[in-house]
């Protein structure tokens, strides 16, 4: 019983993190139908950005007080990731805006490899994992059920931040002027342009928003696990993409729910399915394939429009 509950808690924490990253995938795909493979690396860059700020900028005094340090790191990671995402859009994807669909996808692969290697080569010490400061309460609250169900404080933080940010994002997209422009572009870029919306600006905003969320996720990740590594981006990115598809691509609520499902599949699959944790990764991909084949519109998506 307590094992099941623990695994559910673990799955939700992991899932919230994945959901936060999935938001970036889902928004970008919703607007320009691009699988931004490099988005996982934006998450990684955010984690290293937070680390850089705490290592090189933040005075030791501030490090001691988590309620001071955490927001600073989060803001720093968000800004750096957002900048990375915007630069990526500007220099890699925008020139290919009207190219056939294969081209930006391959560019995305290139950006992914290049970003990861750039951090490895240029960030001091990044060729091996680096410790990340714990700028939040350490330890866990053990819920007294059975053997006890530990809930990490930093895990709770991830869930809360993730839910709050996705609700805020949903409101932004639904009610703000920029949000309306985003939806308009997603529906028909040419008509939106005729209506006076500058597609480039909206697309950049979308990338920036996705980057900011990924940066926040990166710093939260570092804080939760206490270290960062350059290859966290690829795997987490694939999980997040799976989550975005699962929830119905383009759907904000769907991305978060999809993330939770992926988290649960990983933890519960590793616990109860044959092969144990050695194959938990495989189950996620099995789910991904099954969803793409049988319900490509995901949980909340509408059936895919016919596209050329």
């Amino acid at each position: 019983m307590s094992t099941l509950l623990s695994q559910i808690v673990n799955g939700l924490v992991l899932g919230s993190l994945i959901g936060l990253i999935a938001l970036g995938y889902t928004m970008v795909y919703g607007i320009i139908q691009l699988i931004n493979f490099a988005h996982g690396e934006v998450f990684m860059v955010g984690a290293y950005g937070g680390l850089a700020i705490s290592t090189y900028l933040l005075p030791a005094v501030l490090q001691q007080q988590w309620w001071l340090a955490l927001p600073l790191l989060l803001a720093g990671g968000a800004v750096i990731s957002g900048a990375a995402a915007v630069a990526m859009e500007r220099f890699a994807y925008r020139p290919l805006r009207n190219a056939p669909r294969l081209a930006p996808l391959i560019t995305a692969l290139g950006v992914s490899v290049a970003l990861q290697e750039a951090v490895r080569v240029f960030y001091p010490g990044a060729f091996s994992p680096l410790p990340f400061p714990r700028v939040f309460l350490e330890g866990a609250y053990v819920v007294p059920i059975g053997d006890g169900v530990p809930v990490r404080y930093s895990g709770l933080l991830i869930i809360v931040v993730s839910v709050v940010l996705s609700v805020a994002l949903q409101r932004f997209v639904d009610h703000s002027r920029q949000g309306r422009a985003m939806r308009a572009i997603a529906q028909d870029r040419d008509i939106a342009r005729l209506m006076g919306i500058d597609p480039d600006r909206v697309i950049v905003t979308t990338f920036a928003l996705g980057g900011v969320l990924a940066g926040v996720a990166g710093v939260l990740y570092g804080t939760d696990l206490g270290f960062v590594n350059i290859d966290i981006g690829f795997q987490t990115g694939i999980f997040a993409f799976t989550a975005a598809v699962l929830g119905g691509i383009g759907n904000i609520r769907g991305a978060v729910v999809g993330g939770m499902v992926i988290g649960l599949v990983k933890t519960l699959g590793g616990q109860y399915l044959p092969g144990g944790t050695a194959y938990d990764y495989v189950w996620i991909f099995v789910v991904l394939i099954a969803v793409l084949v049988y319900r490509p519109q995901g949980f909340f998506g509408e059936p895919e429009r016919v596209r050329a």
Partner: protein
Amino acid sequence: MSRTRGVAATGVVLVGAMLLAACGTNRSEGDAGGSSCDTSKGTLVIGMIAPMSGGLSAIGLGMRNSADLAVDEANEKCTVPGYQLAFQPEDDQSLPQIAAQAATKLASDPAVAAVVGTYNSSTAQAAAPILAQRSIVQISPGNTGPALTRGEQAATDPKRPFPTYFRVAANDLVQGPFGARYLVQEAGKKRIAVIDDGKTYGVGLVENFVTEAERLGARIVAREKVGEKDTDFSSTIAAIRSSRPDAVYYGGEYPAAGPLSKQLAEAGLDIPLMGGDGIADPQYIELGGRPGDFATNIGAPVESLPSARAFVDAYAAAGYPEPSSAYGPMTYDATNVIIQALAGVVEDGELDDAARAGLIDAVQRTDYSGASGKVAFDEFGDTTNKVLTVSTVEEDGFVPLDTGVFEPAS
């Protein structure tokens, strides 16, 4: 318009950079060789095959620097009479086919005397036959797969496949059981959960640990694997939690082991974690290793070994940008073993075919005291350095607890 301006700006920056660089050179007249040794017989090359790009580059670059240090020191001290030594590192990208290419490249150069490497066992399996065919000595600081020295039936019917292959890393048949003895007999742990990372080193370590631990009467209450790129181990921890282990044995390296230890404690499982030499690194503690964790290490502890200290100091003094990594000392020893043997073989002659055969014999007869302890090889090419140390984590680092000689149970 803006494009032209961009070109112009780039030009200005380039010209500025050039002016800054001015007309400096690193010209140094007269001492092209860097020393006053007799190098009349030419240059001999010590090659290396290691992963210097991609995910394992931290280890590969540490190995490269450590071997480079050994070669530089030998050139300074004129260790090999009549020859200048050169070091030629080759990247294997952790891929067997690239390692085979690198091995062929080195093997077809008559100046190459010996090769240090590889790190992965799979790359060694591809490189060793090529080097063996050309009678080129190979000493690996990192391979742990038993098949490399004892053939496919390593445990039951050992046969040495490559007469030129040696290693200074203890194979898993030694380290796992040694750890098991300490954990079961000294620390009194009876319910042990084992976790590995699915790689050669980790899996081998855990398998041999389990055999010995069960022989000694402990129960293995859970067996789990973590993914190579996994970082959040909470689900693995939750999976072993219900079986109430009193210790965890981890087969793998510190980048995953440190966070794993930390997450164990956070999940309320305040039990010690033990691992092999892959976690015996200061980084382990920085990444989350807790006081009370154990690690086994090959050789006697650094504190009791002046040669180990000397290596650490020399490495720091040489100013390499990357740390020496956990495999630095053993790489340094492997290189020095080759240099010593080479010095004996070419003392009054050149490196011809007879001398190459002599080099293999000389390495086989090695009796050398290096940074990782005593280095000598048994009839399979495995290190006979069965001195192992168990250390534990305390506030300021690993502290040795117990040093012993491992004798396999008959």
